[in-house]
Symmetry: C2
Subunit: 160 residues, 2 copies
């Protein structure tokens, strides 16, 4: 009881990188999917926001536009995403998952989920709930810098 923000910060620095490394290896070692974590996140975002633009994806994920453009090259080449010009504004690009993209995304999601589920299965309900609540708590605090103001500027003090 009585964890200070400073202690929590130290824990974050210690634990989060380990979790990331494991997730990264899971994604990359999958037979057919073989995605980087960033690629996975991009597919998931485009799935939820079909027809979105490159800028929007870059902003959400937290990559620069050139980096995202190059990453997208790879996903388009692998036929996981279709990239077309917007008819209304031909500078814009519209992004959608292909059927194959949806399949691969689901496969990666399932593989990772299955593995993590296995790892997490050693936890009892109370611990599981704690982790779930903690992640829900952290989520709004660590949106990409550009999005952050949308949430943060209105509640710079007390939290819900």
């Amino acid at each position: 009881m009585g964890a200070t923000p400073s202690q929590v910060a130290s824990e974050i620095l210690d634990v989060i990188p380990s979790v990331m490394r494991e997730v990264r290896e899971l994604m990359r070692s999958h037979r057919t999917a073989d995605l980087s974590v960033t690629q996975f996140r991009v597919l998931a975002f485009v799935d939820r926001h079909s027809g979105t633009s490159l800028s929007a994806v870059a902003e959400h994920i937290g990559l620069t536009l050139p980096s995202m453009s190059k990453l997208m090259d790879g996903l388009v080449e692998r036929k996981l995403i279709v990239r077309e010009f917007d008819r209304a504004d031909r500078r814009r690009v519209t992004l959608k998952l292909t059927a194959r993209g949806r399949t691969i995304l689901e496969a990666a999601r399932k593989a990772t989920r299955d593995h993590l589920t296995h790892v997490l299965s050693t936890l009892d309900k109370a611990h599981l709930e704690t982790v779930y609540q903690a992640l829900a708590t952290l989520r709004p605090l660590f949106l990409s810098p550009r999005e952050a103001h949308l949430v943060l500027e209105s509640k710079d003090n007390g939290n819900s």
Copy 2:
């Protein structure tokens, strides 16, 4: 209430990468420290285990030996770590922080901690405690693969 392992897994995939990206940018943007997260973790480990070997660090951090060797080149060149041959076994290397290494580590730690503390300061005590407990719960589940068996091999029950 009643989060399933599967739901928690999805949250991990969604939230953890965002936290990582923020931490990474913090470390890299610091004026004097300018460390990658991995470099930071290496310094912290060597600080806690002064005189440790290269293999030990690589294993703890989850890098291959050649990768760690190269990373260490950088830290030695920046005079943050001293690397000497072990007198007892000349194949081994002993690693220690320099005074400068300790200073830089502390500076990076403080900068990151200060920023995270600011971010976390919007949380009330209960939420903070939840996050703290969750990280403590996750820690043993995501040790580096090589260390993992020490914890996991005794409880490898049913999962496909």
